[in-house]
């Protein structure tokens, strides 16, 4: 029998995720490992598209934090997805807050829903697009209406512009 390797929770982290966490850890004092939790979760989001409890536990283990401290952060920020159904190549947030609404965001929502054939809160069957539930004003009111696709802001939207953007995505 080979020598046993006890499974640590952090074993689940990929090479890339570890690399990313290490990169961020360098920026903080060694006893402040928790500072890297946002970056660590972002790295996991990048690979998995959402945060599973197992992966959050892995991050907690890696950073020597109580798991609940990681759950708290993951649940606080809306950029983290906790539902596997939300994992998609492109996550689209269409702002429908006041300024955007006044500038016609309802129409944009309707258009995208019709185009992708899914409602807000749903994912296309090919897992390419996920229409995220609105959180709050995305702070681009001056160029309303707007949407965010993954990390990129698209402003002054019209249905035609939306088609162009979405069709241009791989």
């Amino acid at each position: 029998m080979t020598s046993p390797v006890l499974k640590r929770k952090s074993d689940l982290l990929t090479e890339h995720e570890r690399h990313e966490i290490e990169h961020w850890l360098k920026r903080y004092p060694p006893e402040q490992k928790r500072s890297a939790v946002l970056a660590a979760l972002r790295a996991v989001m990048h690979t998995d598209g959402y945060l599973s409890t197992a992966k959050m536990d892995a991050v907690a283990d890696y950073l020597s934090l109580p798991p609940i401290a990681v759950y708290e952060v993951a649940n606080f920020y809306s950029m983290y997805e906790l539902d596997p159904q939300a994992a998609a190549k492109y996550s689209i947030s269409i702002c429908t807050n006041v300024s955007c609404m006044l500038c016609g965001s309802d129409q944009i929502v309707e258009h995208i829903e019709a185009k992708l054939g899914v409602k807000i809160g749903e994912r296309t069957p090919d897992r390419k697009f996920f229409l995220k539930n609105e959180e709050e004003c995305l702070a681009a009111c001056a160029s309303a209406p707007m949407m965010q696709v993954n990390h990129v802001y698209y402003t002054n939207l019209t249905p035609e512009k939306v088609d162009e953007i979405l069709d241009g995505l791989e």
Binding site: M1, S3, P4, P66, I68, Y71, E72
Partner: protein, 781 residues
């Protein structure tokens, strides 16, 4: 002391200590300021805003809990502005509150309810939908009703700061924020019950007592808890002559305002169906219920035939001082000198070298003032949660904690820990002491003659210790824990611990295992000198055994041996509160005595404080206080001076004896040669499970639900070597005793050790808690 400063509150001037928050000052002055999130033993969160008061020159009202006092400050707690703010906050807090007081267990003792009545508006203006929060199941001790939560985060801060393990957290944000464990699981903290008390609303309530009685229907009795060795001050709440619940009673020198879960929830055991309610006699192998008269006459008859040299008395160190005193008096009156309460100690040498009373050596409060604490053979967190709390406090105040253990104990604060197999603990200590003396820390005289072996690499640990010592300002404490006391080489370990303490110019102390361990030790000093410390030899020719609330299958170092000897004994007289299958088997007479809470008596805690715990409920059935039973037995046998009229008379007599036998700092008569263990093979680690320590706790159902299934824990390397995979069955064998247990891989253990918890159903079938053990793959055939 810094100079006092003057502040004005509600138009009156007061001198107060600078540097404190306003709320501390008003609390000390007896001026009421409402609050939810503020708690004097927790950090300041200032998130509920209920404590808003008006402060001169400040535009907006300020939170009293987060506003430091300043000279000349003028404060109004009841001005229009303050009242306005309080009413607004109250209204705000109640927006999402269900207002379900009629079905809430907290009703009648709820801070929210009280403050809503005092500071709130009469009517709510809120018409909209309220939020609903799902309730997580956080285990058998605490019920959750999270819709009632006002997010004060006291429970979360308690976890981080006091319990030392953060299990609850605030998940989500804004109006969706909820307090939860997120992943549903039972809380692991041994102090978890305290969140019931810190929660100002009915969100966290005691599960075992839920819906039993209303706060105003219960009678509160001030008394002392009987499991932890600190003697936590508690209030027992009864309804209809039944204990409904136990809550802490504040005592800053002992338990502050906390208690352990063990002391809080143990009361359930008192209502166990296994309580013995009538005297019983075994006749021709059949148990018969008899009258007290008959039982006592029979006991008398048995005792008159007793052969003193072959007889022994075993008492629980959870018995009261009065009971232990009479137990010793009666047995000695019969010529029996083998009387023992240290039933888990096995080292015969220990009785010669150790002081008669092994106690903490300093006041509990002073633990938190130490700067360097070294634990030897101790999982203090589970042995004595409240002492651990003090060590944790010391650590938070800057102390460094070191440990020499027999496994990597999971502490709830940072500890520099070395762990070796039991047989190596002595040589580990020797290596440390030699290492320190090489670094220039002189060995005291009595140590220089000892031959110290240096077998382990302790260099880093010793360096760390020296660095900590440099900053310790002489505040050093060495503590011997329960595992060290149960160790086969206890005498050696104690000798070495004392050497270490002397090298470091620190105090030496012991962690007493049971509620009255110190008291029980002290009682032995009242016996004639030559009789003290005679170890009980359980040979096969036992004549009479008298038991006082002892269950040998759980309470002794070697259950298998003890049980077989008891079965062979000619007669066993058991004064006990509980029935058990083993007792049915070996006993001759069973005399039902009242347990804690139904009996009054003194407990001497770890620091030597005497506390009288008064009975709070009537005895169940025909059970009688053990001291009365012993008094009658003594009287019948014409033992002199047994004629006590009441418990106070015995207590009084004992009090007078204290002056003649005071507690002195525990000093060890060092052993002259250290034993060397060259054991090869597997060793057992048999620490007692924290909720299996005595006969009451063992029957407290909610606590029992937290006792994990007993498994044979083995280091993965050892397990692989023996081809033992997790959760497969293994047969463990100790001499004649054997048992099948599931395997559990456990990296916290040294190699070649097997950890099987003591005090459990499984360990009741095994031999020595600390000793040789064999393993064979596969279940018992």
């Amino acid at each position: 002391m810094s100079e006092l400063i003057t502040i004005e509150v509600n138009g009156k001037a007061y001198d107060v200590r600078p540097g404190q928050m306003l709320i501390e000052a008003t609390d000390n002055l007896g001026i009421e300021v409402p609050r939810f999130c503020y708690h004097k033993h927790l950090s300041i969160a200032a998130n509920c805003r209920m404590c808003l008061v008006e402060v001169e020159k400040m535009g907006k009202p300020l939170p009293a809990c987060a506003t430091p006092v300043a000279a000349g400050m003028k404060v109004w707690t009841q001005s229009e502005k303050a009242v306005d703010a309080q009413q607004a906050m109250m209204e705000f807090l109640l927006i999402n509150h269900p207002l379900d007081c009629p079905i809430c267990d907290q009703g009648g003792e709820c801070e929210l309810q009280d403050q809503a009545m005092t500071y709130g508006k009469v009517q709510s203006r809120y018409q909209e939908v309220k939020r609903v929060v799902l309730d997580p199941d956080i285990g058998p001790l605490i019920e959750t009703e999270m819709t009632r939560c006002i997010q004060c985060t006291r429970c979360v801060r308690f976890g981080t700061e006091i319990a030392g393990i953060r299990e609850l957290g605030g998940i989500g944000r804004g109006d969706r924020m909820a307090i939860t464990t997120y992943v549903e699981q039972a809380l692991q903290s041994e102090l978890s019950g305290n969140i019931i008390d810190v929660c100002p609303v009915g969100a966290l309530t005691a599960k075992p007592s839920r819906y039993t009685a209303r706060a105003w229907e219960m009678i509160a009795h001030a008394t002392v808890a009987a499991h932890d060795s600190v003697g936590s001050n508690i209030e027992v709440h009864t309804f209809d002559n039944k204990i409904v619940r136990v809550v802490p009673r504040e005592n800053d020198t002992i338990n502050q305002c906390w208690i352990s879960d063990r002391d809080r929830f143990s009361y359930e055991g008192l209502n166990s169906s296994e309580r013995v309610l009538k005297p019983l006699i075994k006749r021709d192998g059949e148990w018969q219920t008899v009258s007290w008269q008959e039982a006592l006459a029979h006991t008398h008859e048995l005792l008159t035939q007793l052969k003193p040299e072959q007889s022994t008395g075993l008492a629980s160190a959870n018995a009261t001082l009065e009971e232990l005193y009479l137990f010793q008096k009666v047995l000695q009156g019969l010529g029996v000198s083998q009387i023992e309460h240290r039933l888990r100690q096995v080292d015969a040498q220990a009785t010669q070298v150790l002081p008669a009373v092994t106690w903490l050596g300093l006041p509990i409060e002073q633990i938190s003032e130490q700067k360097l604490i070294i634990l030897i053979g101790s999982d203090v967190r589970h042995e004595q949660p409240m002492l651990n709390h003090r060590i944790h406090l010391a650590q938070r105040l800057g102390a460094q904690v070191f440990a020499l253990n027999m496994r990597q104990v999971a502490f709830n604060y940072p500890v520099e820990q070395l762990a070796v197999a039991p047989a190596q603990l002595s040589s580990l200590l020797q290596s440390v002491i030699s290492g320190l003396s090489e670094q220039g820390l002189a060995l005291p005289n009595d140590g220089s003659t000892l031959e110290l072996i240096q077998r382990h690499d302790t260099q880093n640990w010793v360096q760390g210790l020296l660095a900590a010592l440099a900053q310790a300002q002489g505040k050093v404490l060495v503590l011997l824990g329960n595992s060290a006391q149960e160790h086969p080489y206890y005498a050696d370990l104690a000798t070495l611990a004392q050497l270490l303490a002397q090298q470091l110019s620190g105090h030496l102390g012991f962690i007493p295992p049971q509620a009255n361990s110190v008291g029980a030790d002290w009682v032995t000093t009242l016996a004639p000198q030559d009789e003290v410390g005679k170890a009980v030899e359980l040979n096969s020719e036992l004549d009479t055994v008298v038991l006082l609330n002892v269950e040998p299958e759980y309470d002794t170092a070697n259950p298998y041996l003890t049980l077989s000897r008891l079965r062979q004994a000619k007669q066993v007289i058991a004064i006990t509160s509980f029935m058990s299958p083993a007792l049915r088997d070996y006993a001759t007479v069973i005399l039902p005595c009242t347990p804690w809470a139904e009996t009054s008596g003194t407990y001497v805690n770890a620091e030597g404080t005497w506390q009288f715990a008064r009975a709070v409920t009537e005895p169940k059935g025909e059970a009688r206080p053990a001291w009365k039973i012993l008094r009658v037995i003594g009287h019948q046998l014409s033992v002199p001076e047994c004629e006590y009229v009441n418990i106070e008379q015995i207590s009084f007599e004992l009090r007078r004896l204290v002056d003649k036998h005071p507690l002195t700092p525990p000093t060890i008569q060092p052993v002259t040669t250290l034993r060397i263990s060259n054991e090869s093979g597997l060793e057992r680690i048999g620490e007692v499970q924290a909720y299996r320590v005595d006969n009451v706790v063992r029957r407290a159902s909610a606590l029992q639900a937290l006792v994990p299934e007993t498994k044979a824990h083995i280091h993965p390397n050892t397990a692989t070597h023996l081809a033992l995979m997790p959760d497969t069955l293994v047969t463990v064998r100790q001499g004649e005793a054997s048992l099948s247990l599931p395997v559990w891989w456990d990296e916290s253990l040294p190699e070649n050790t097997v950890w099987i918890a003591g005090g459990t159903e499984a360990s009741a079938q095994l031999g020595e808690a600390w000793g040789r053990i064999e393993l064979r793959a596969g279940g018992k055939t």
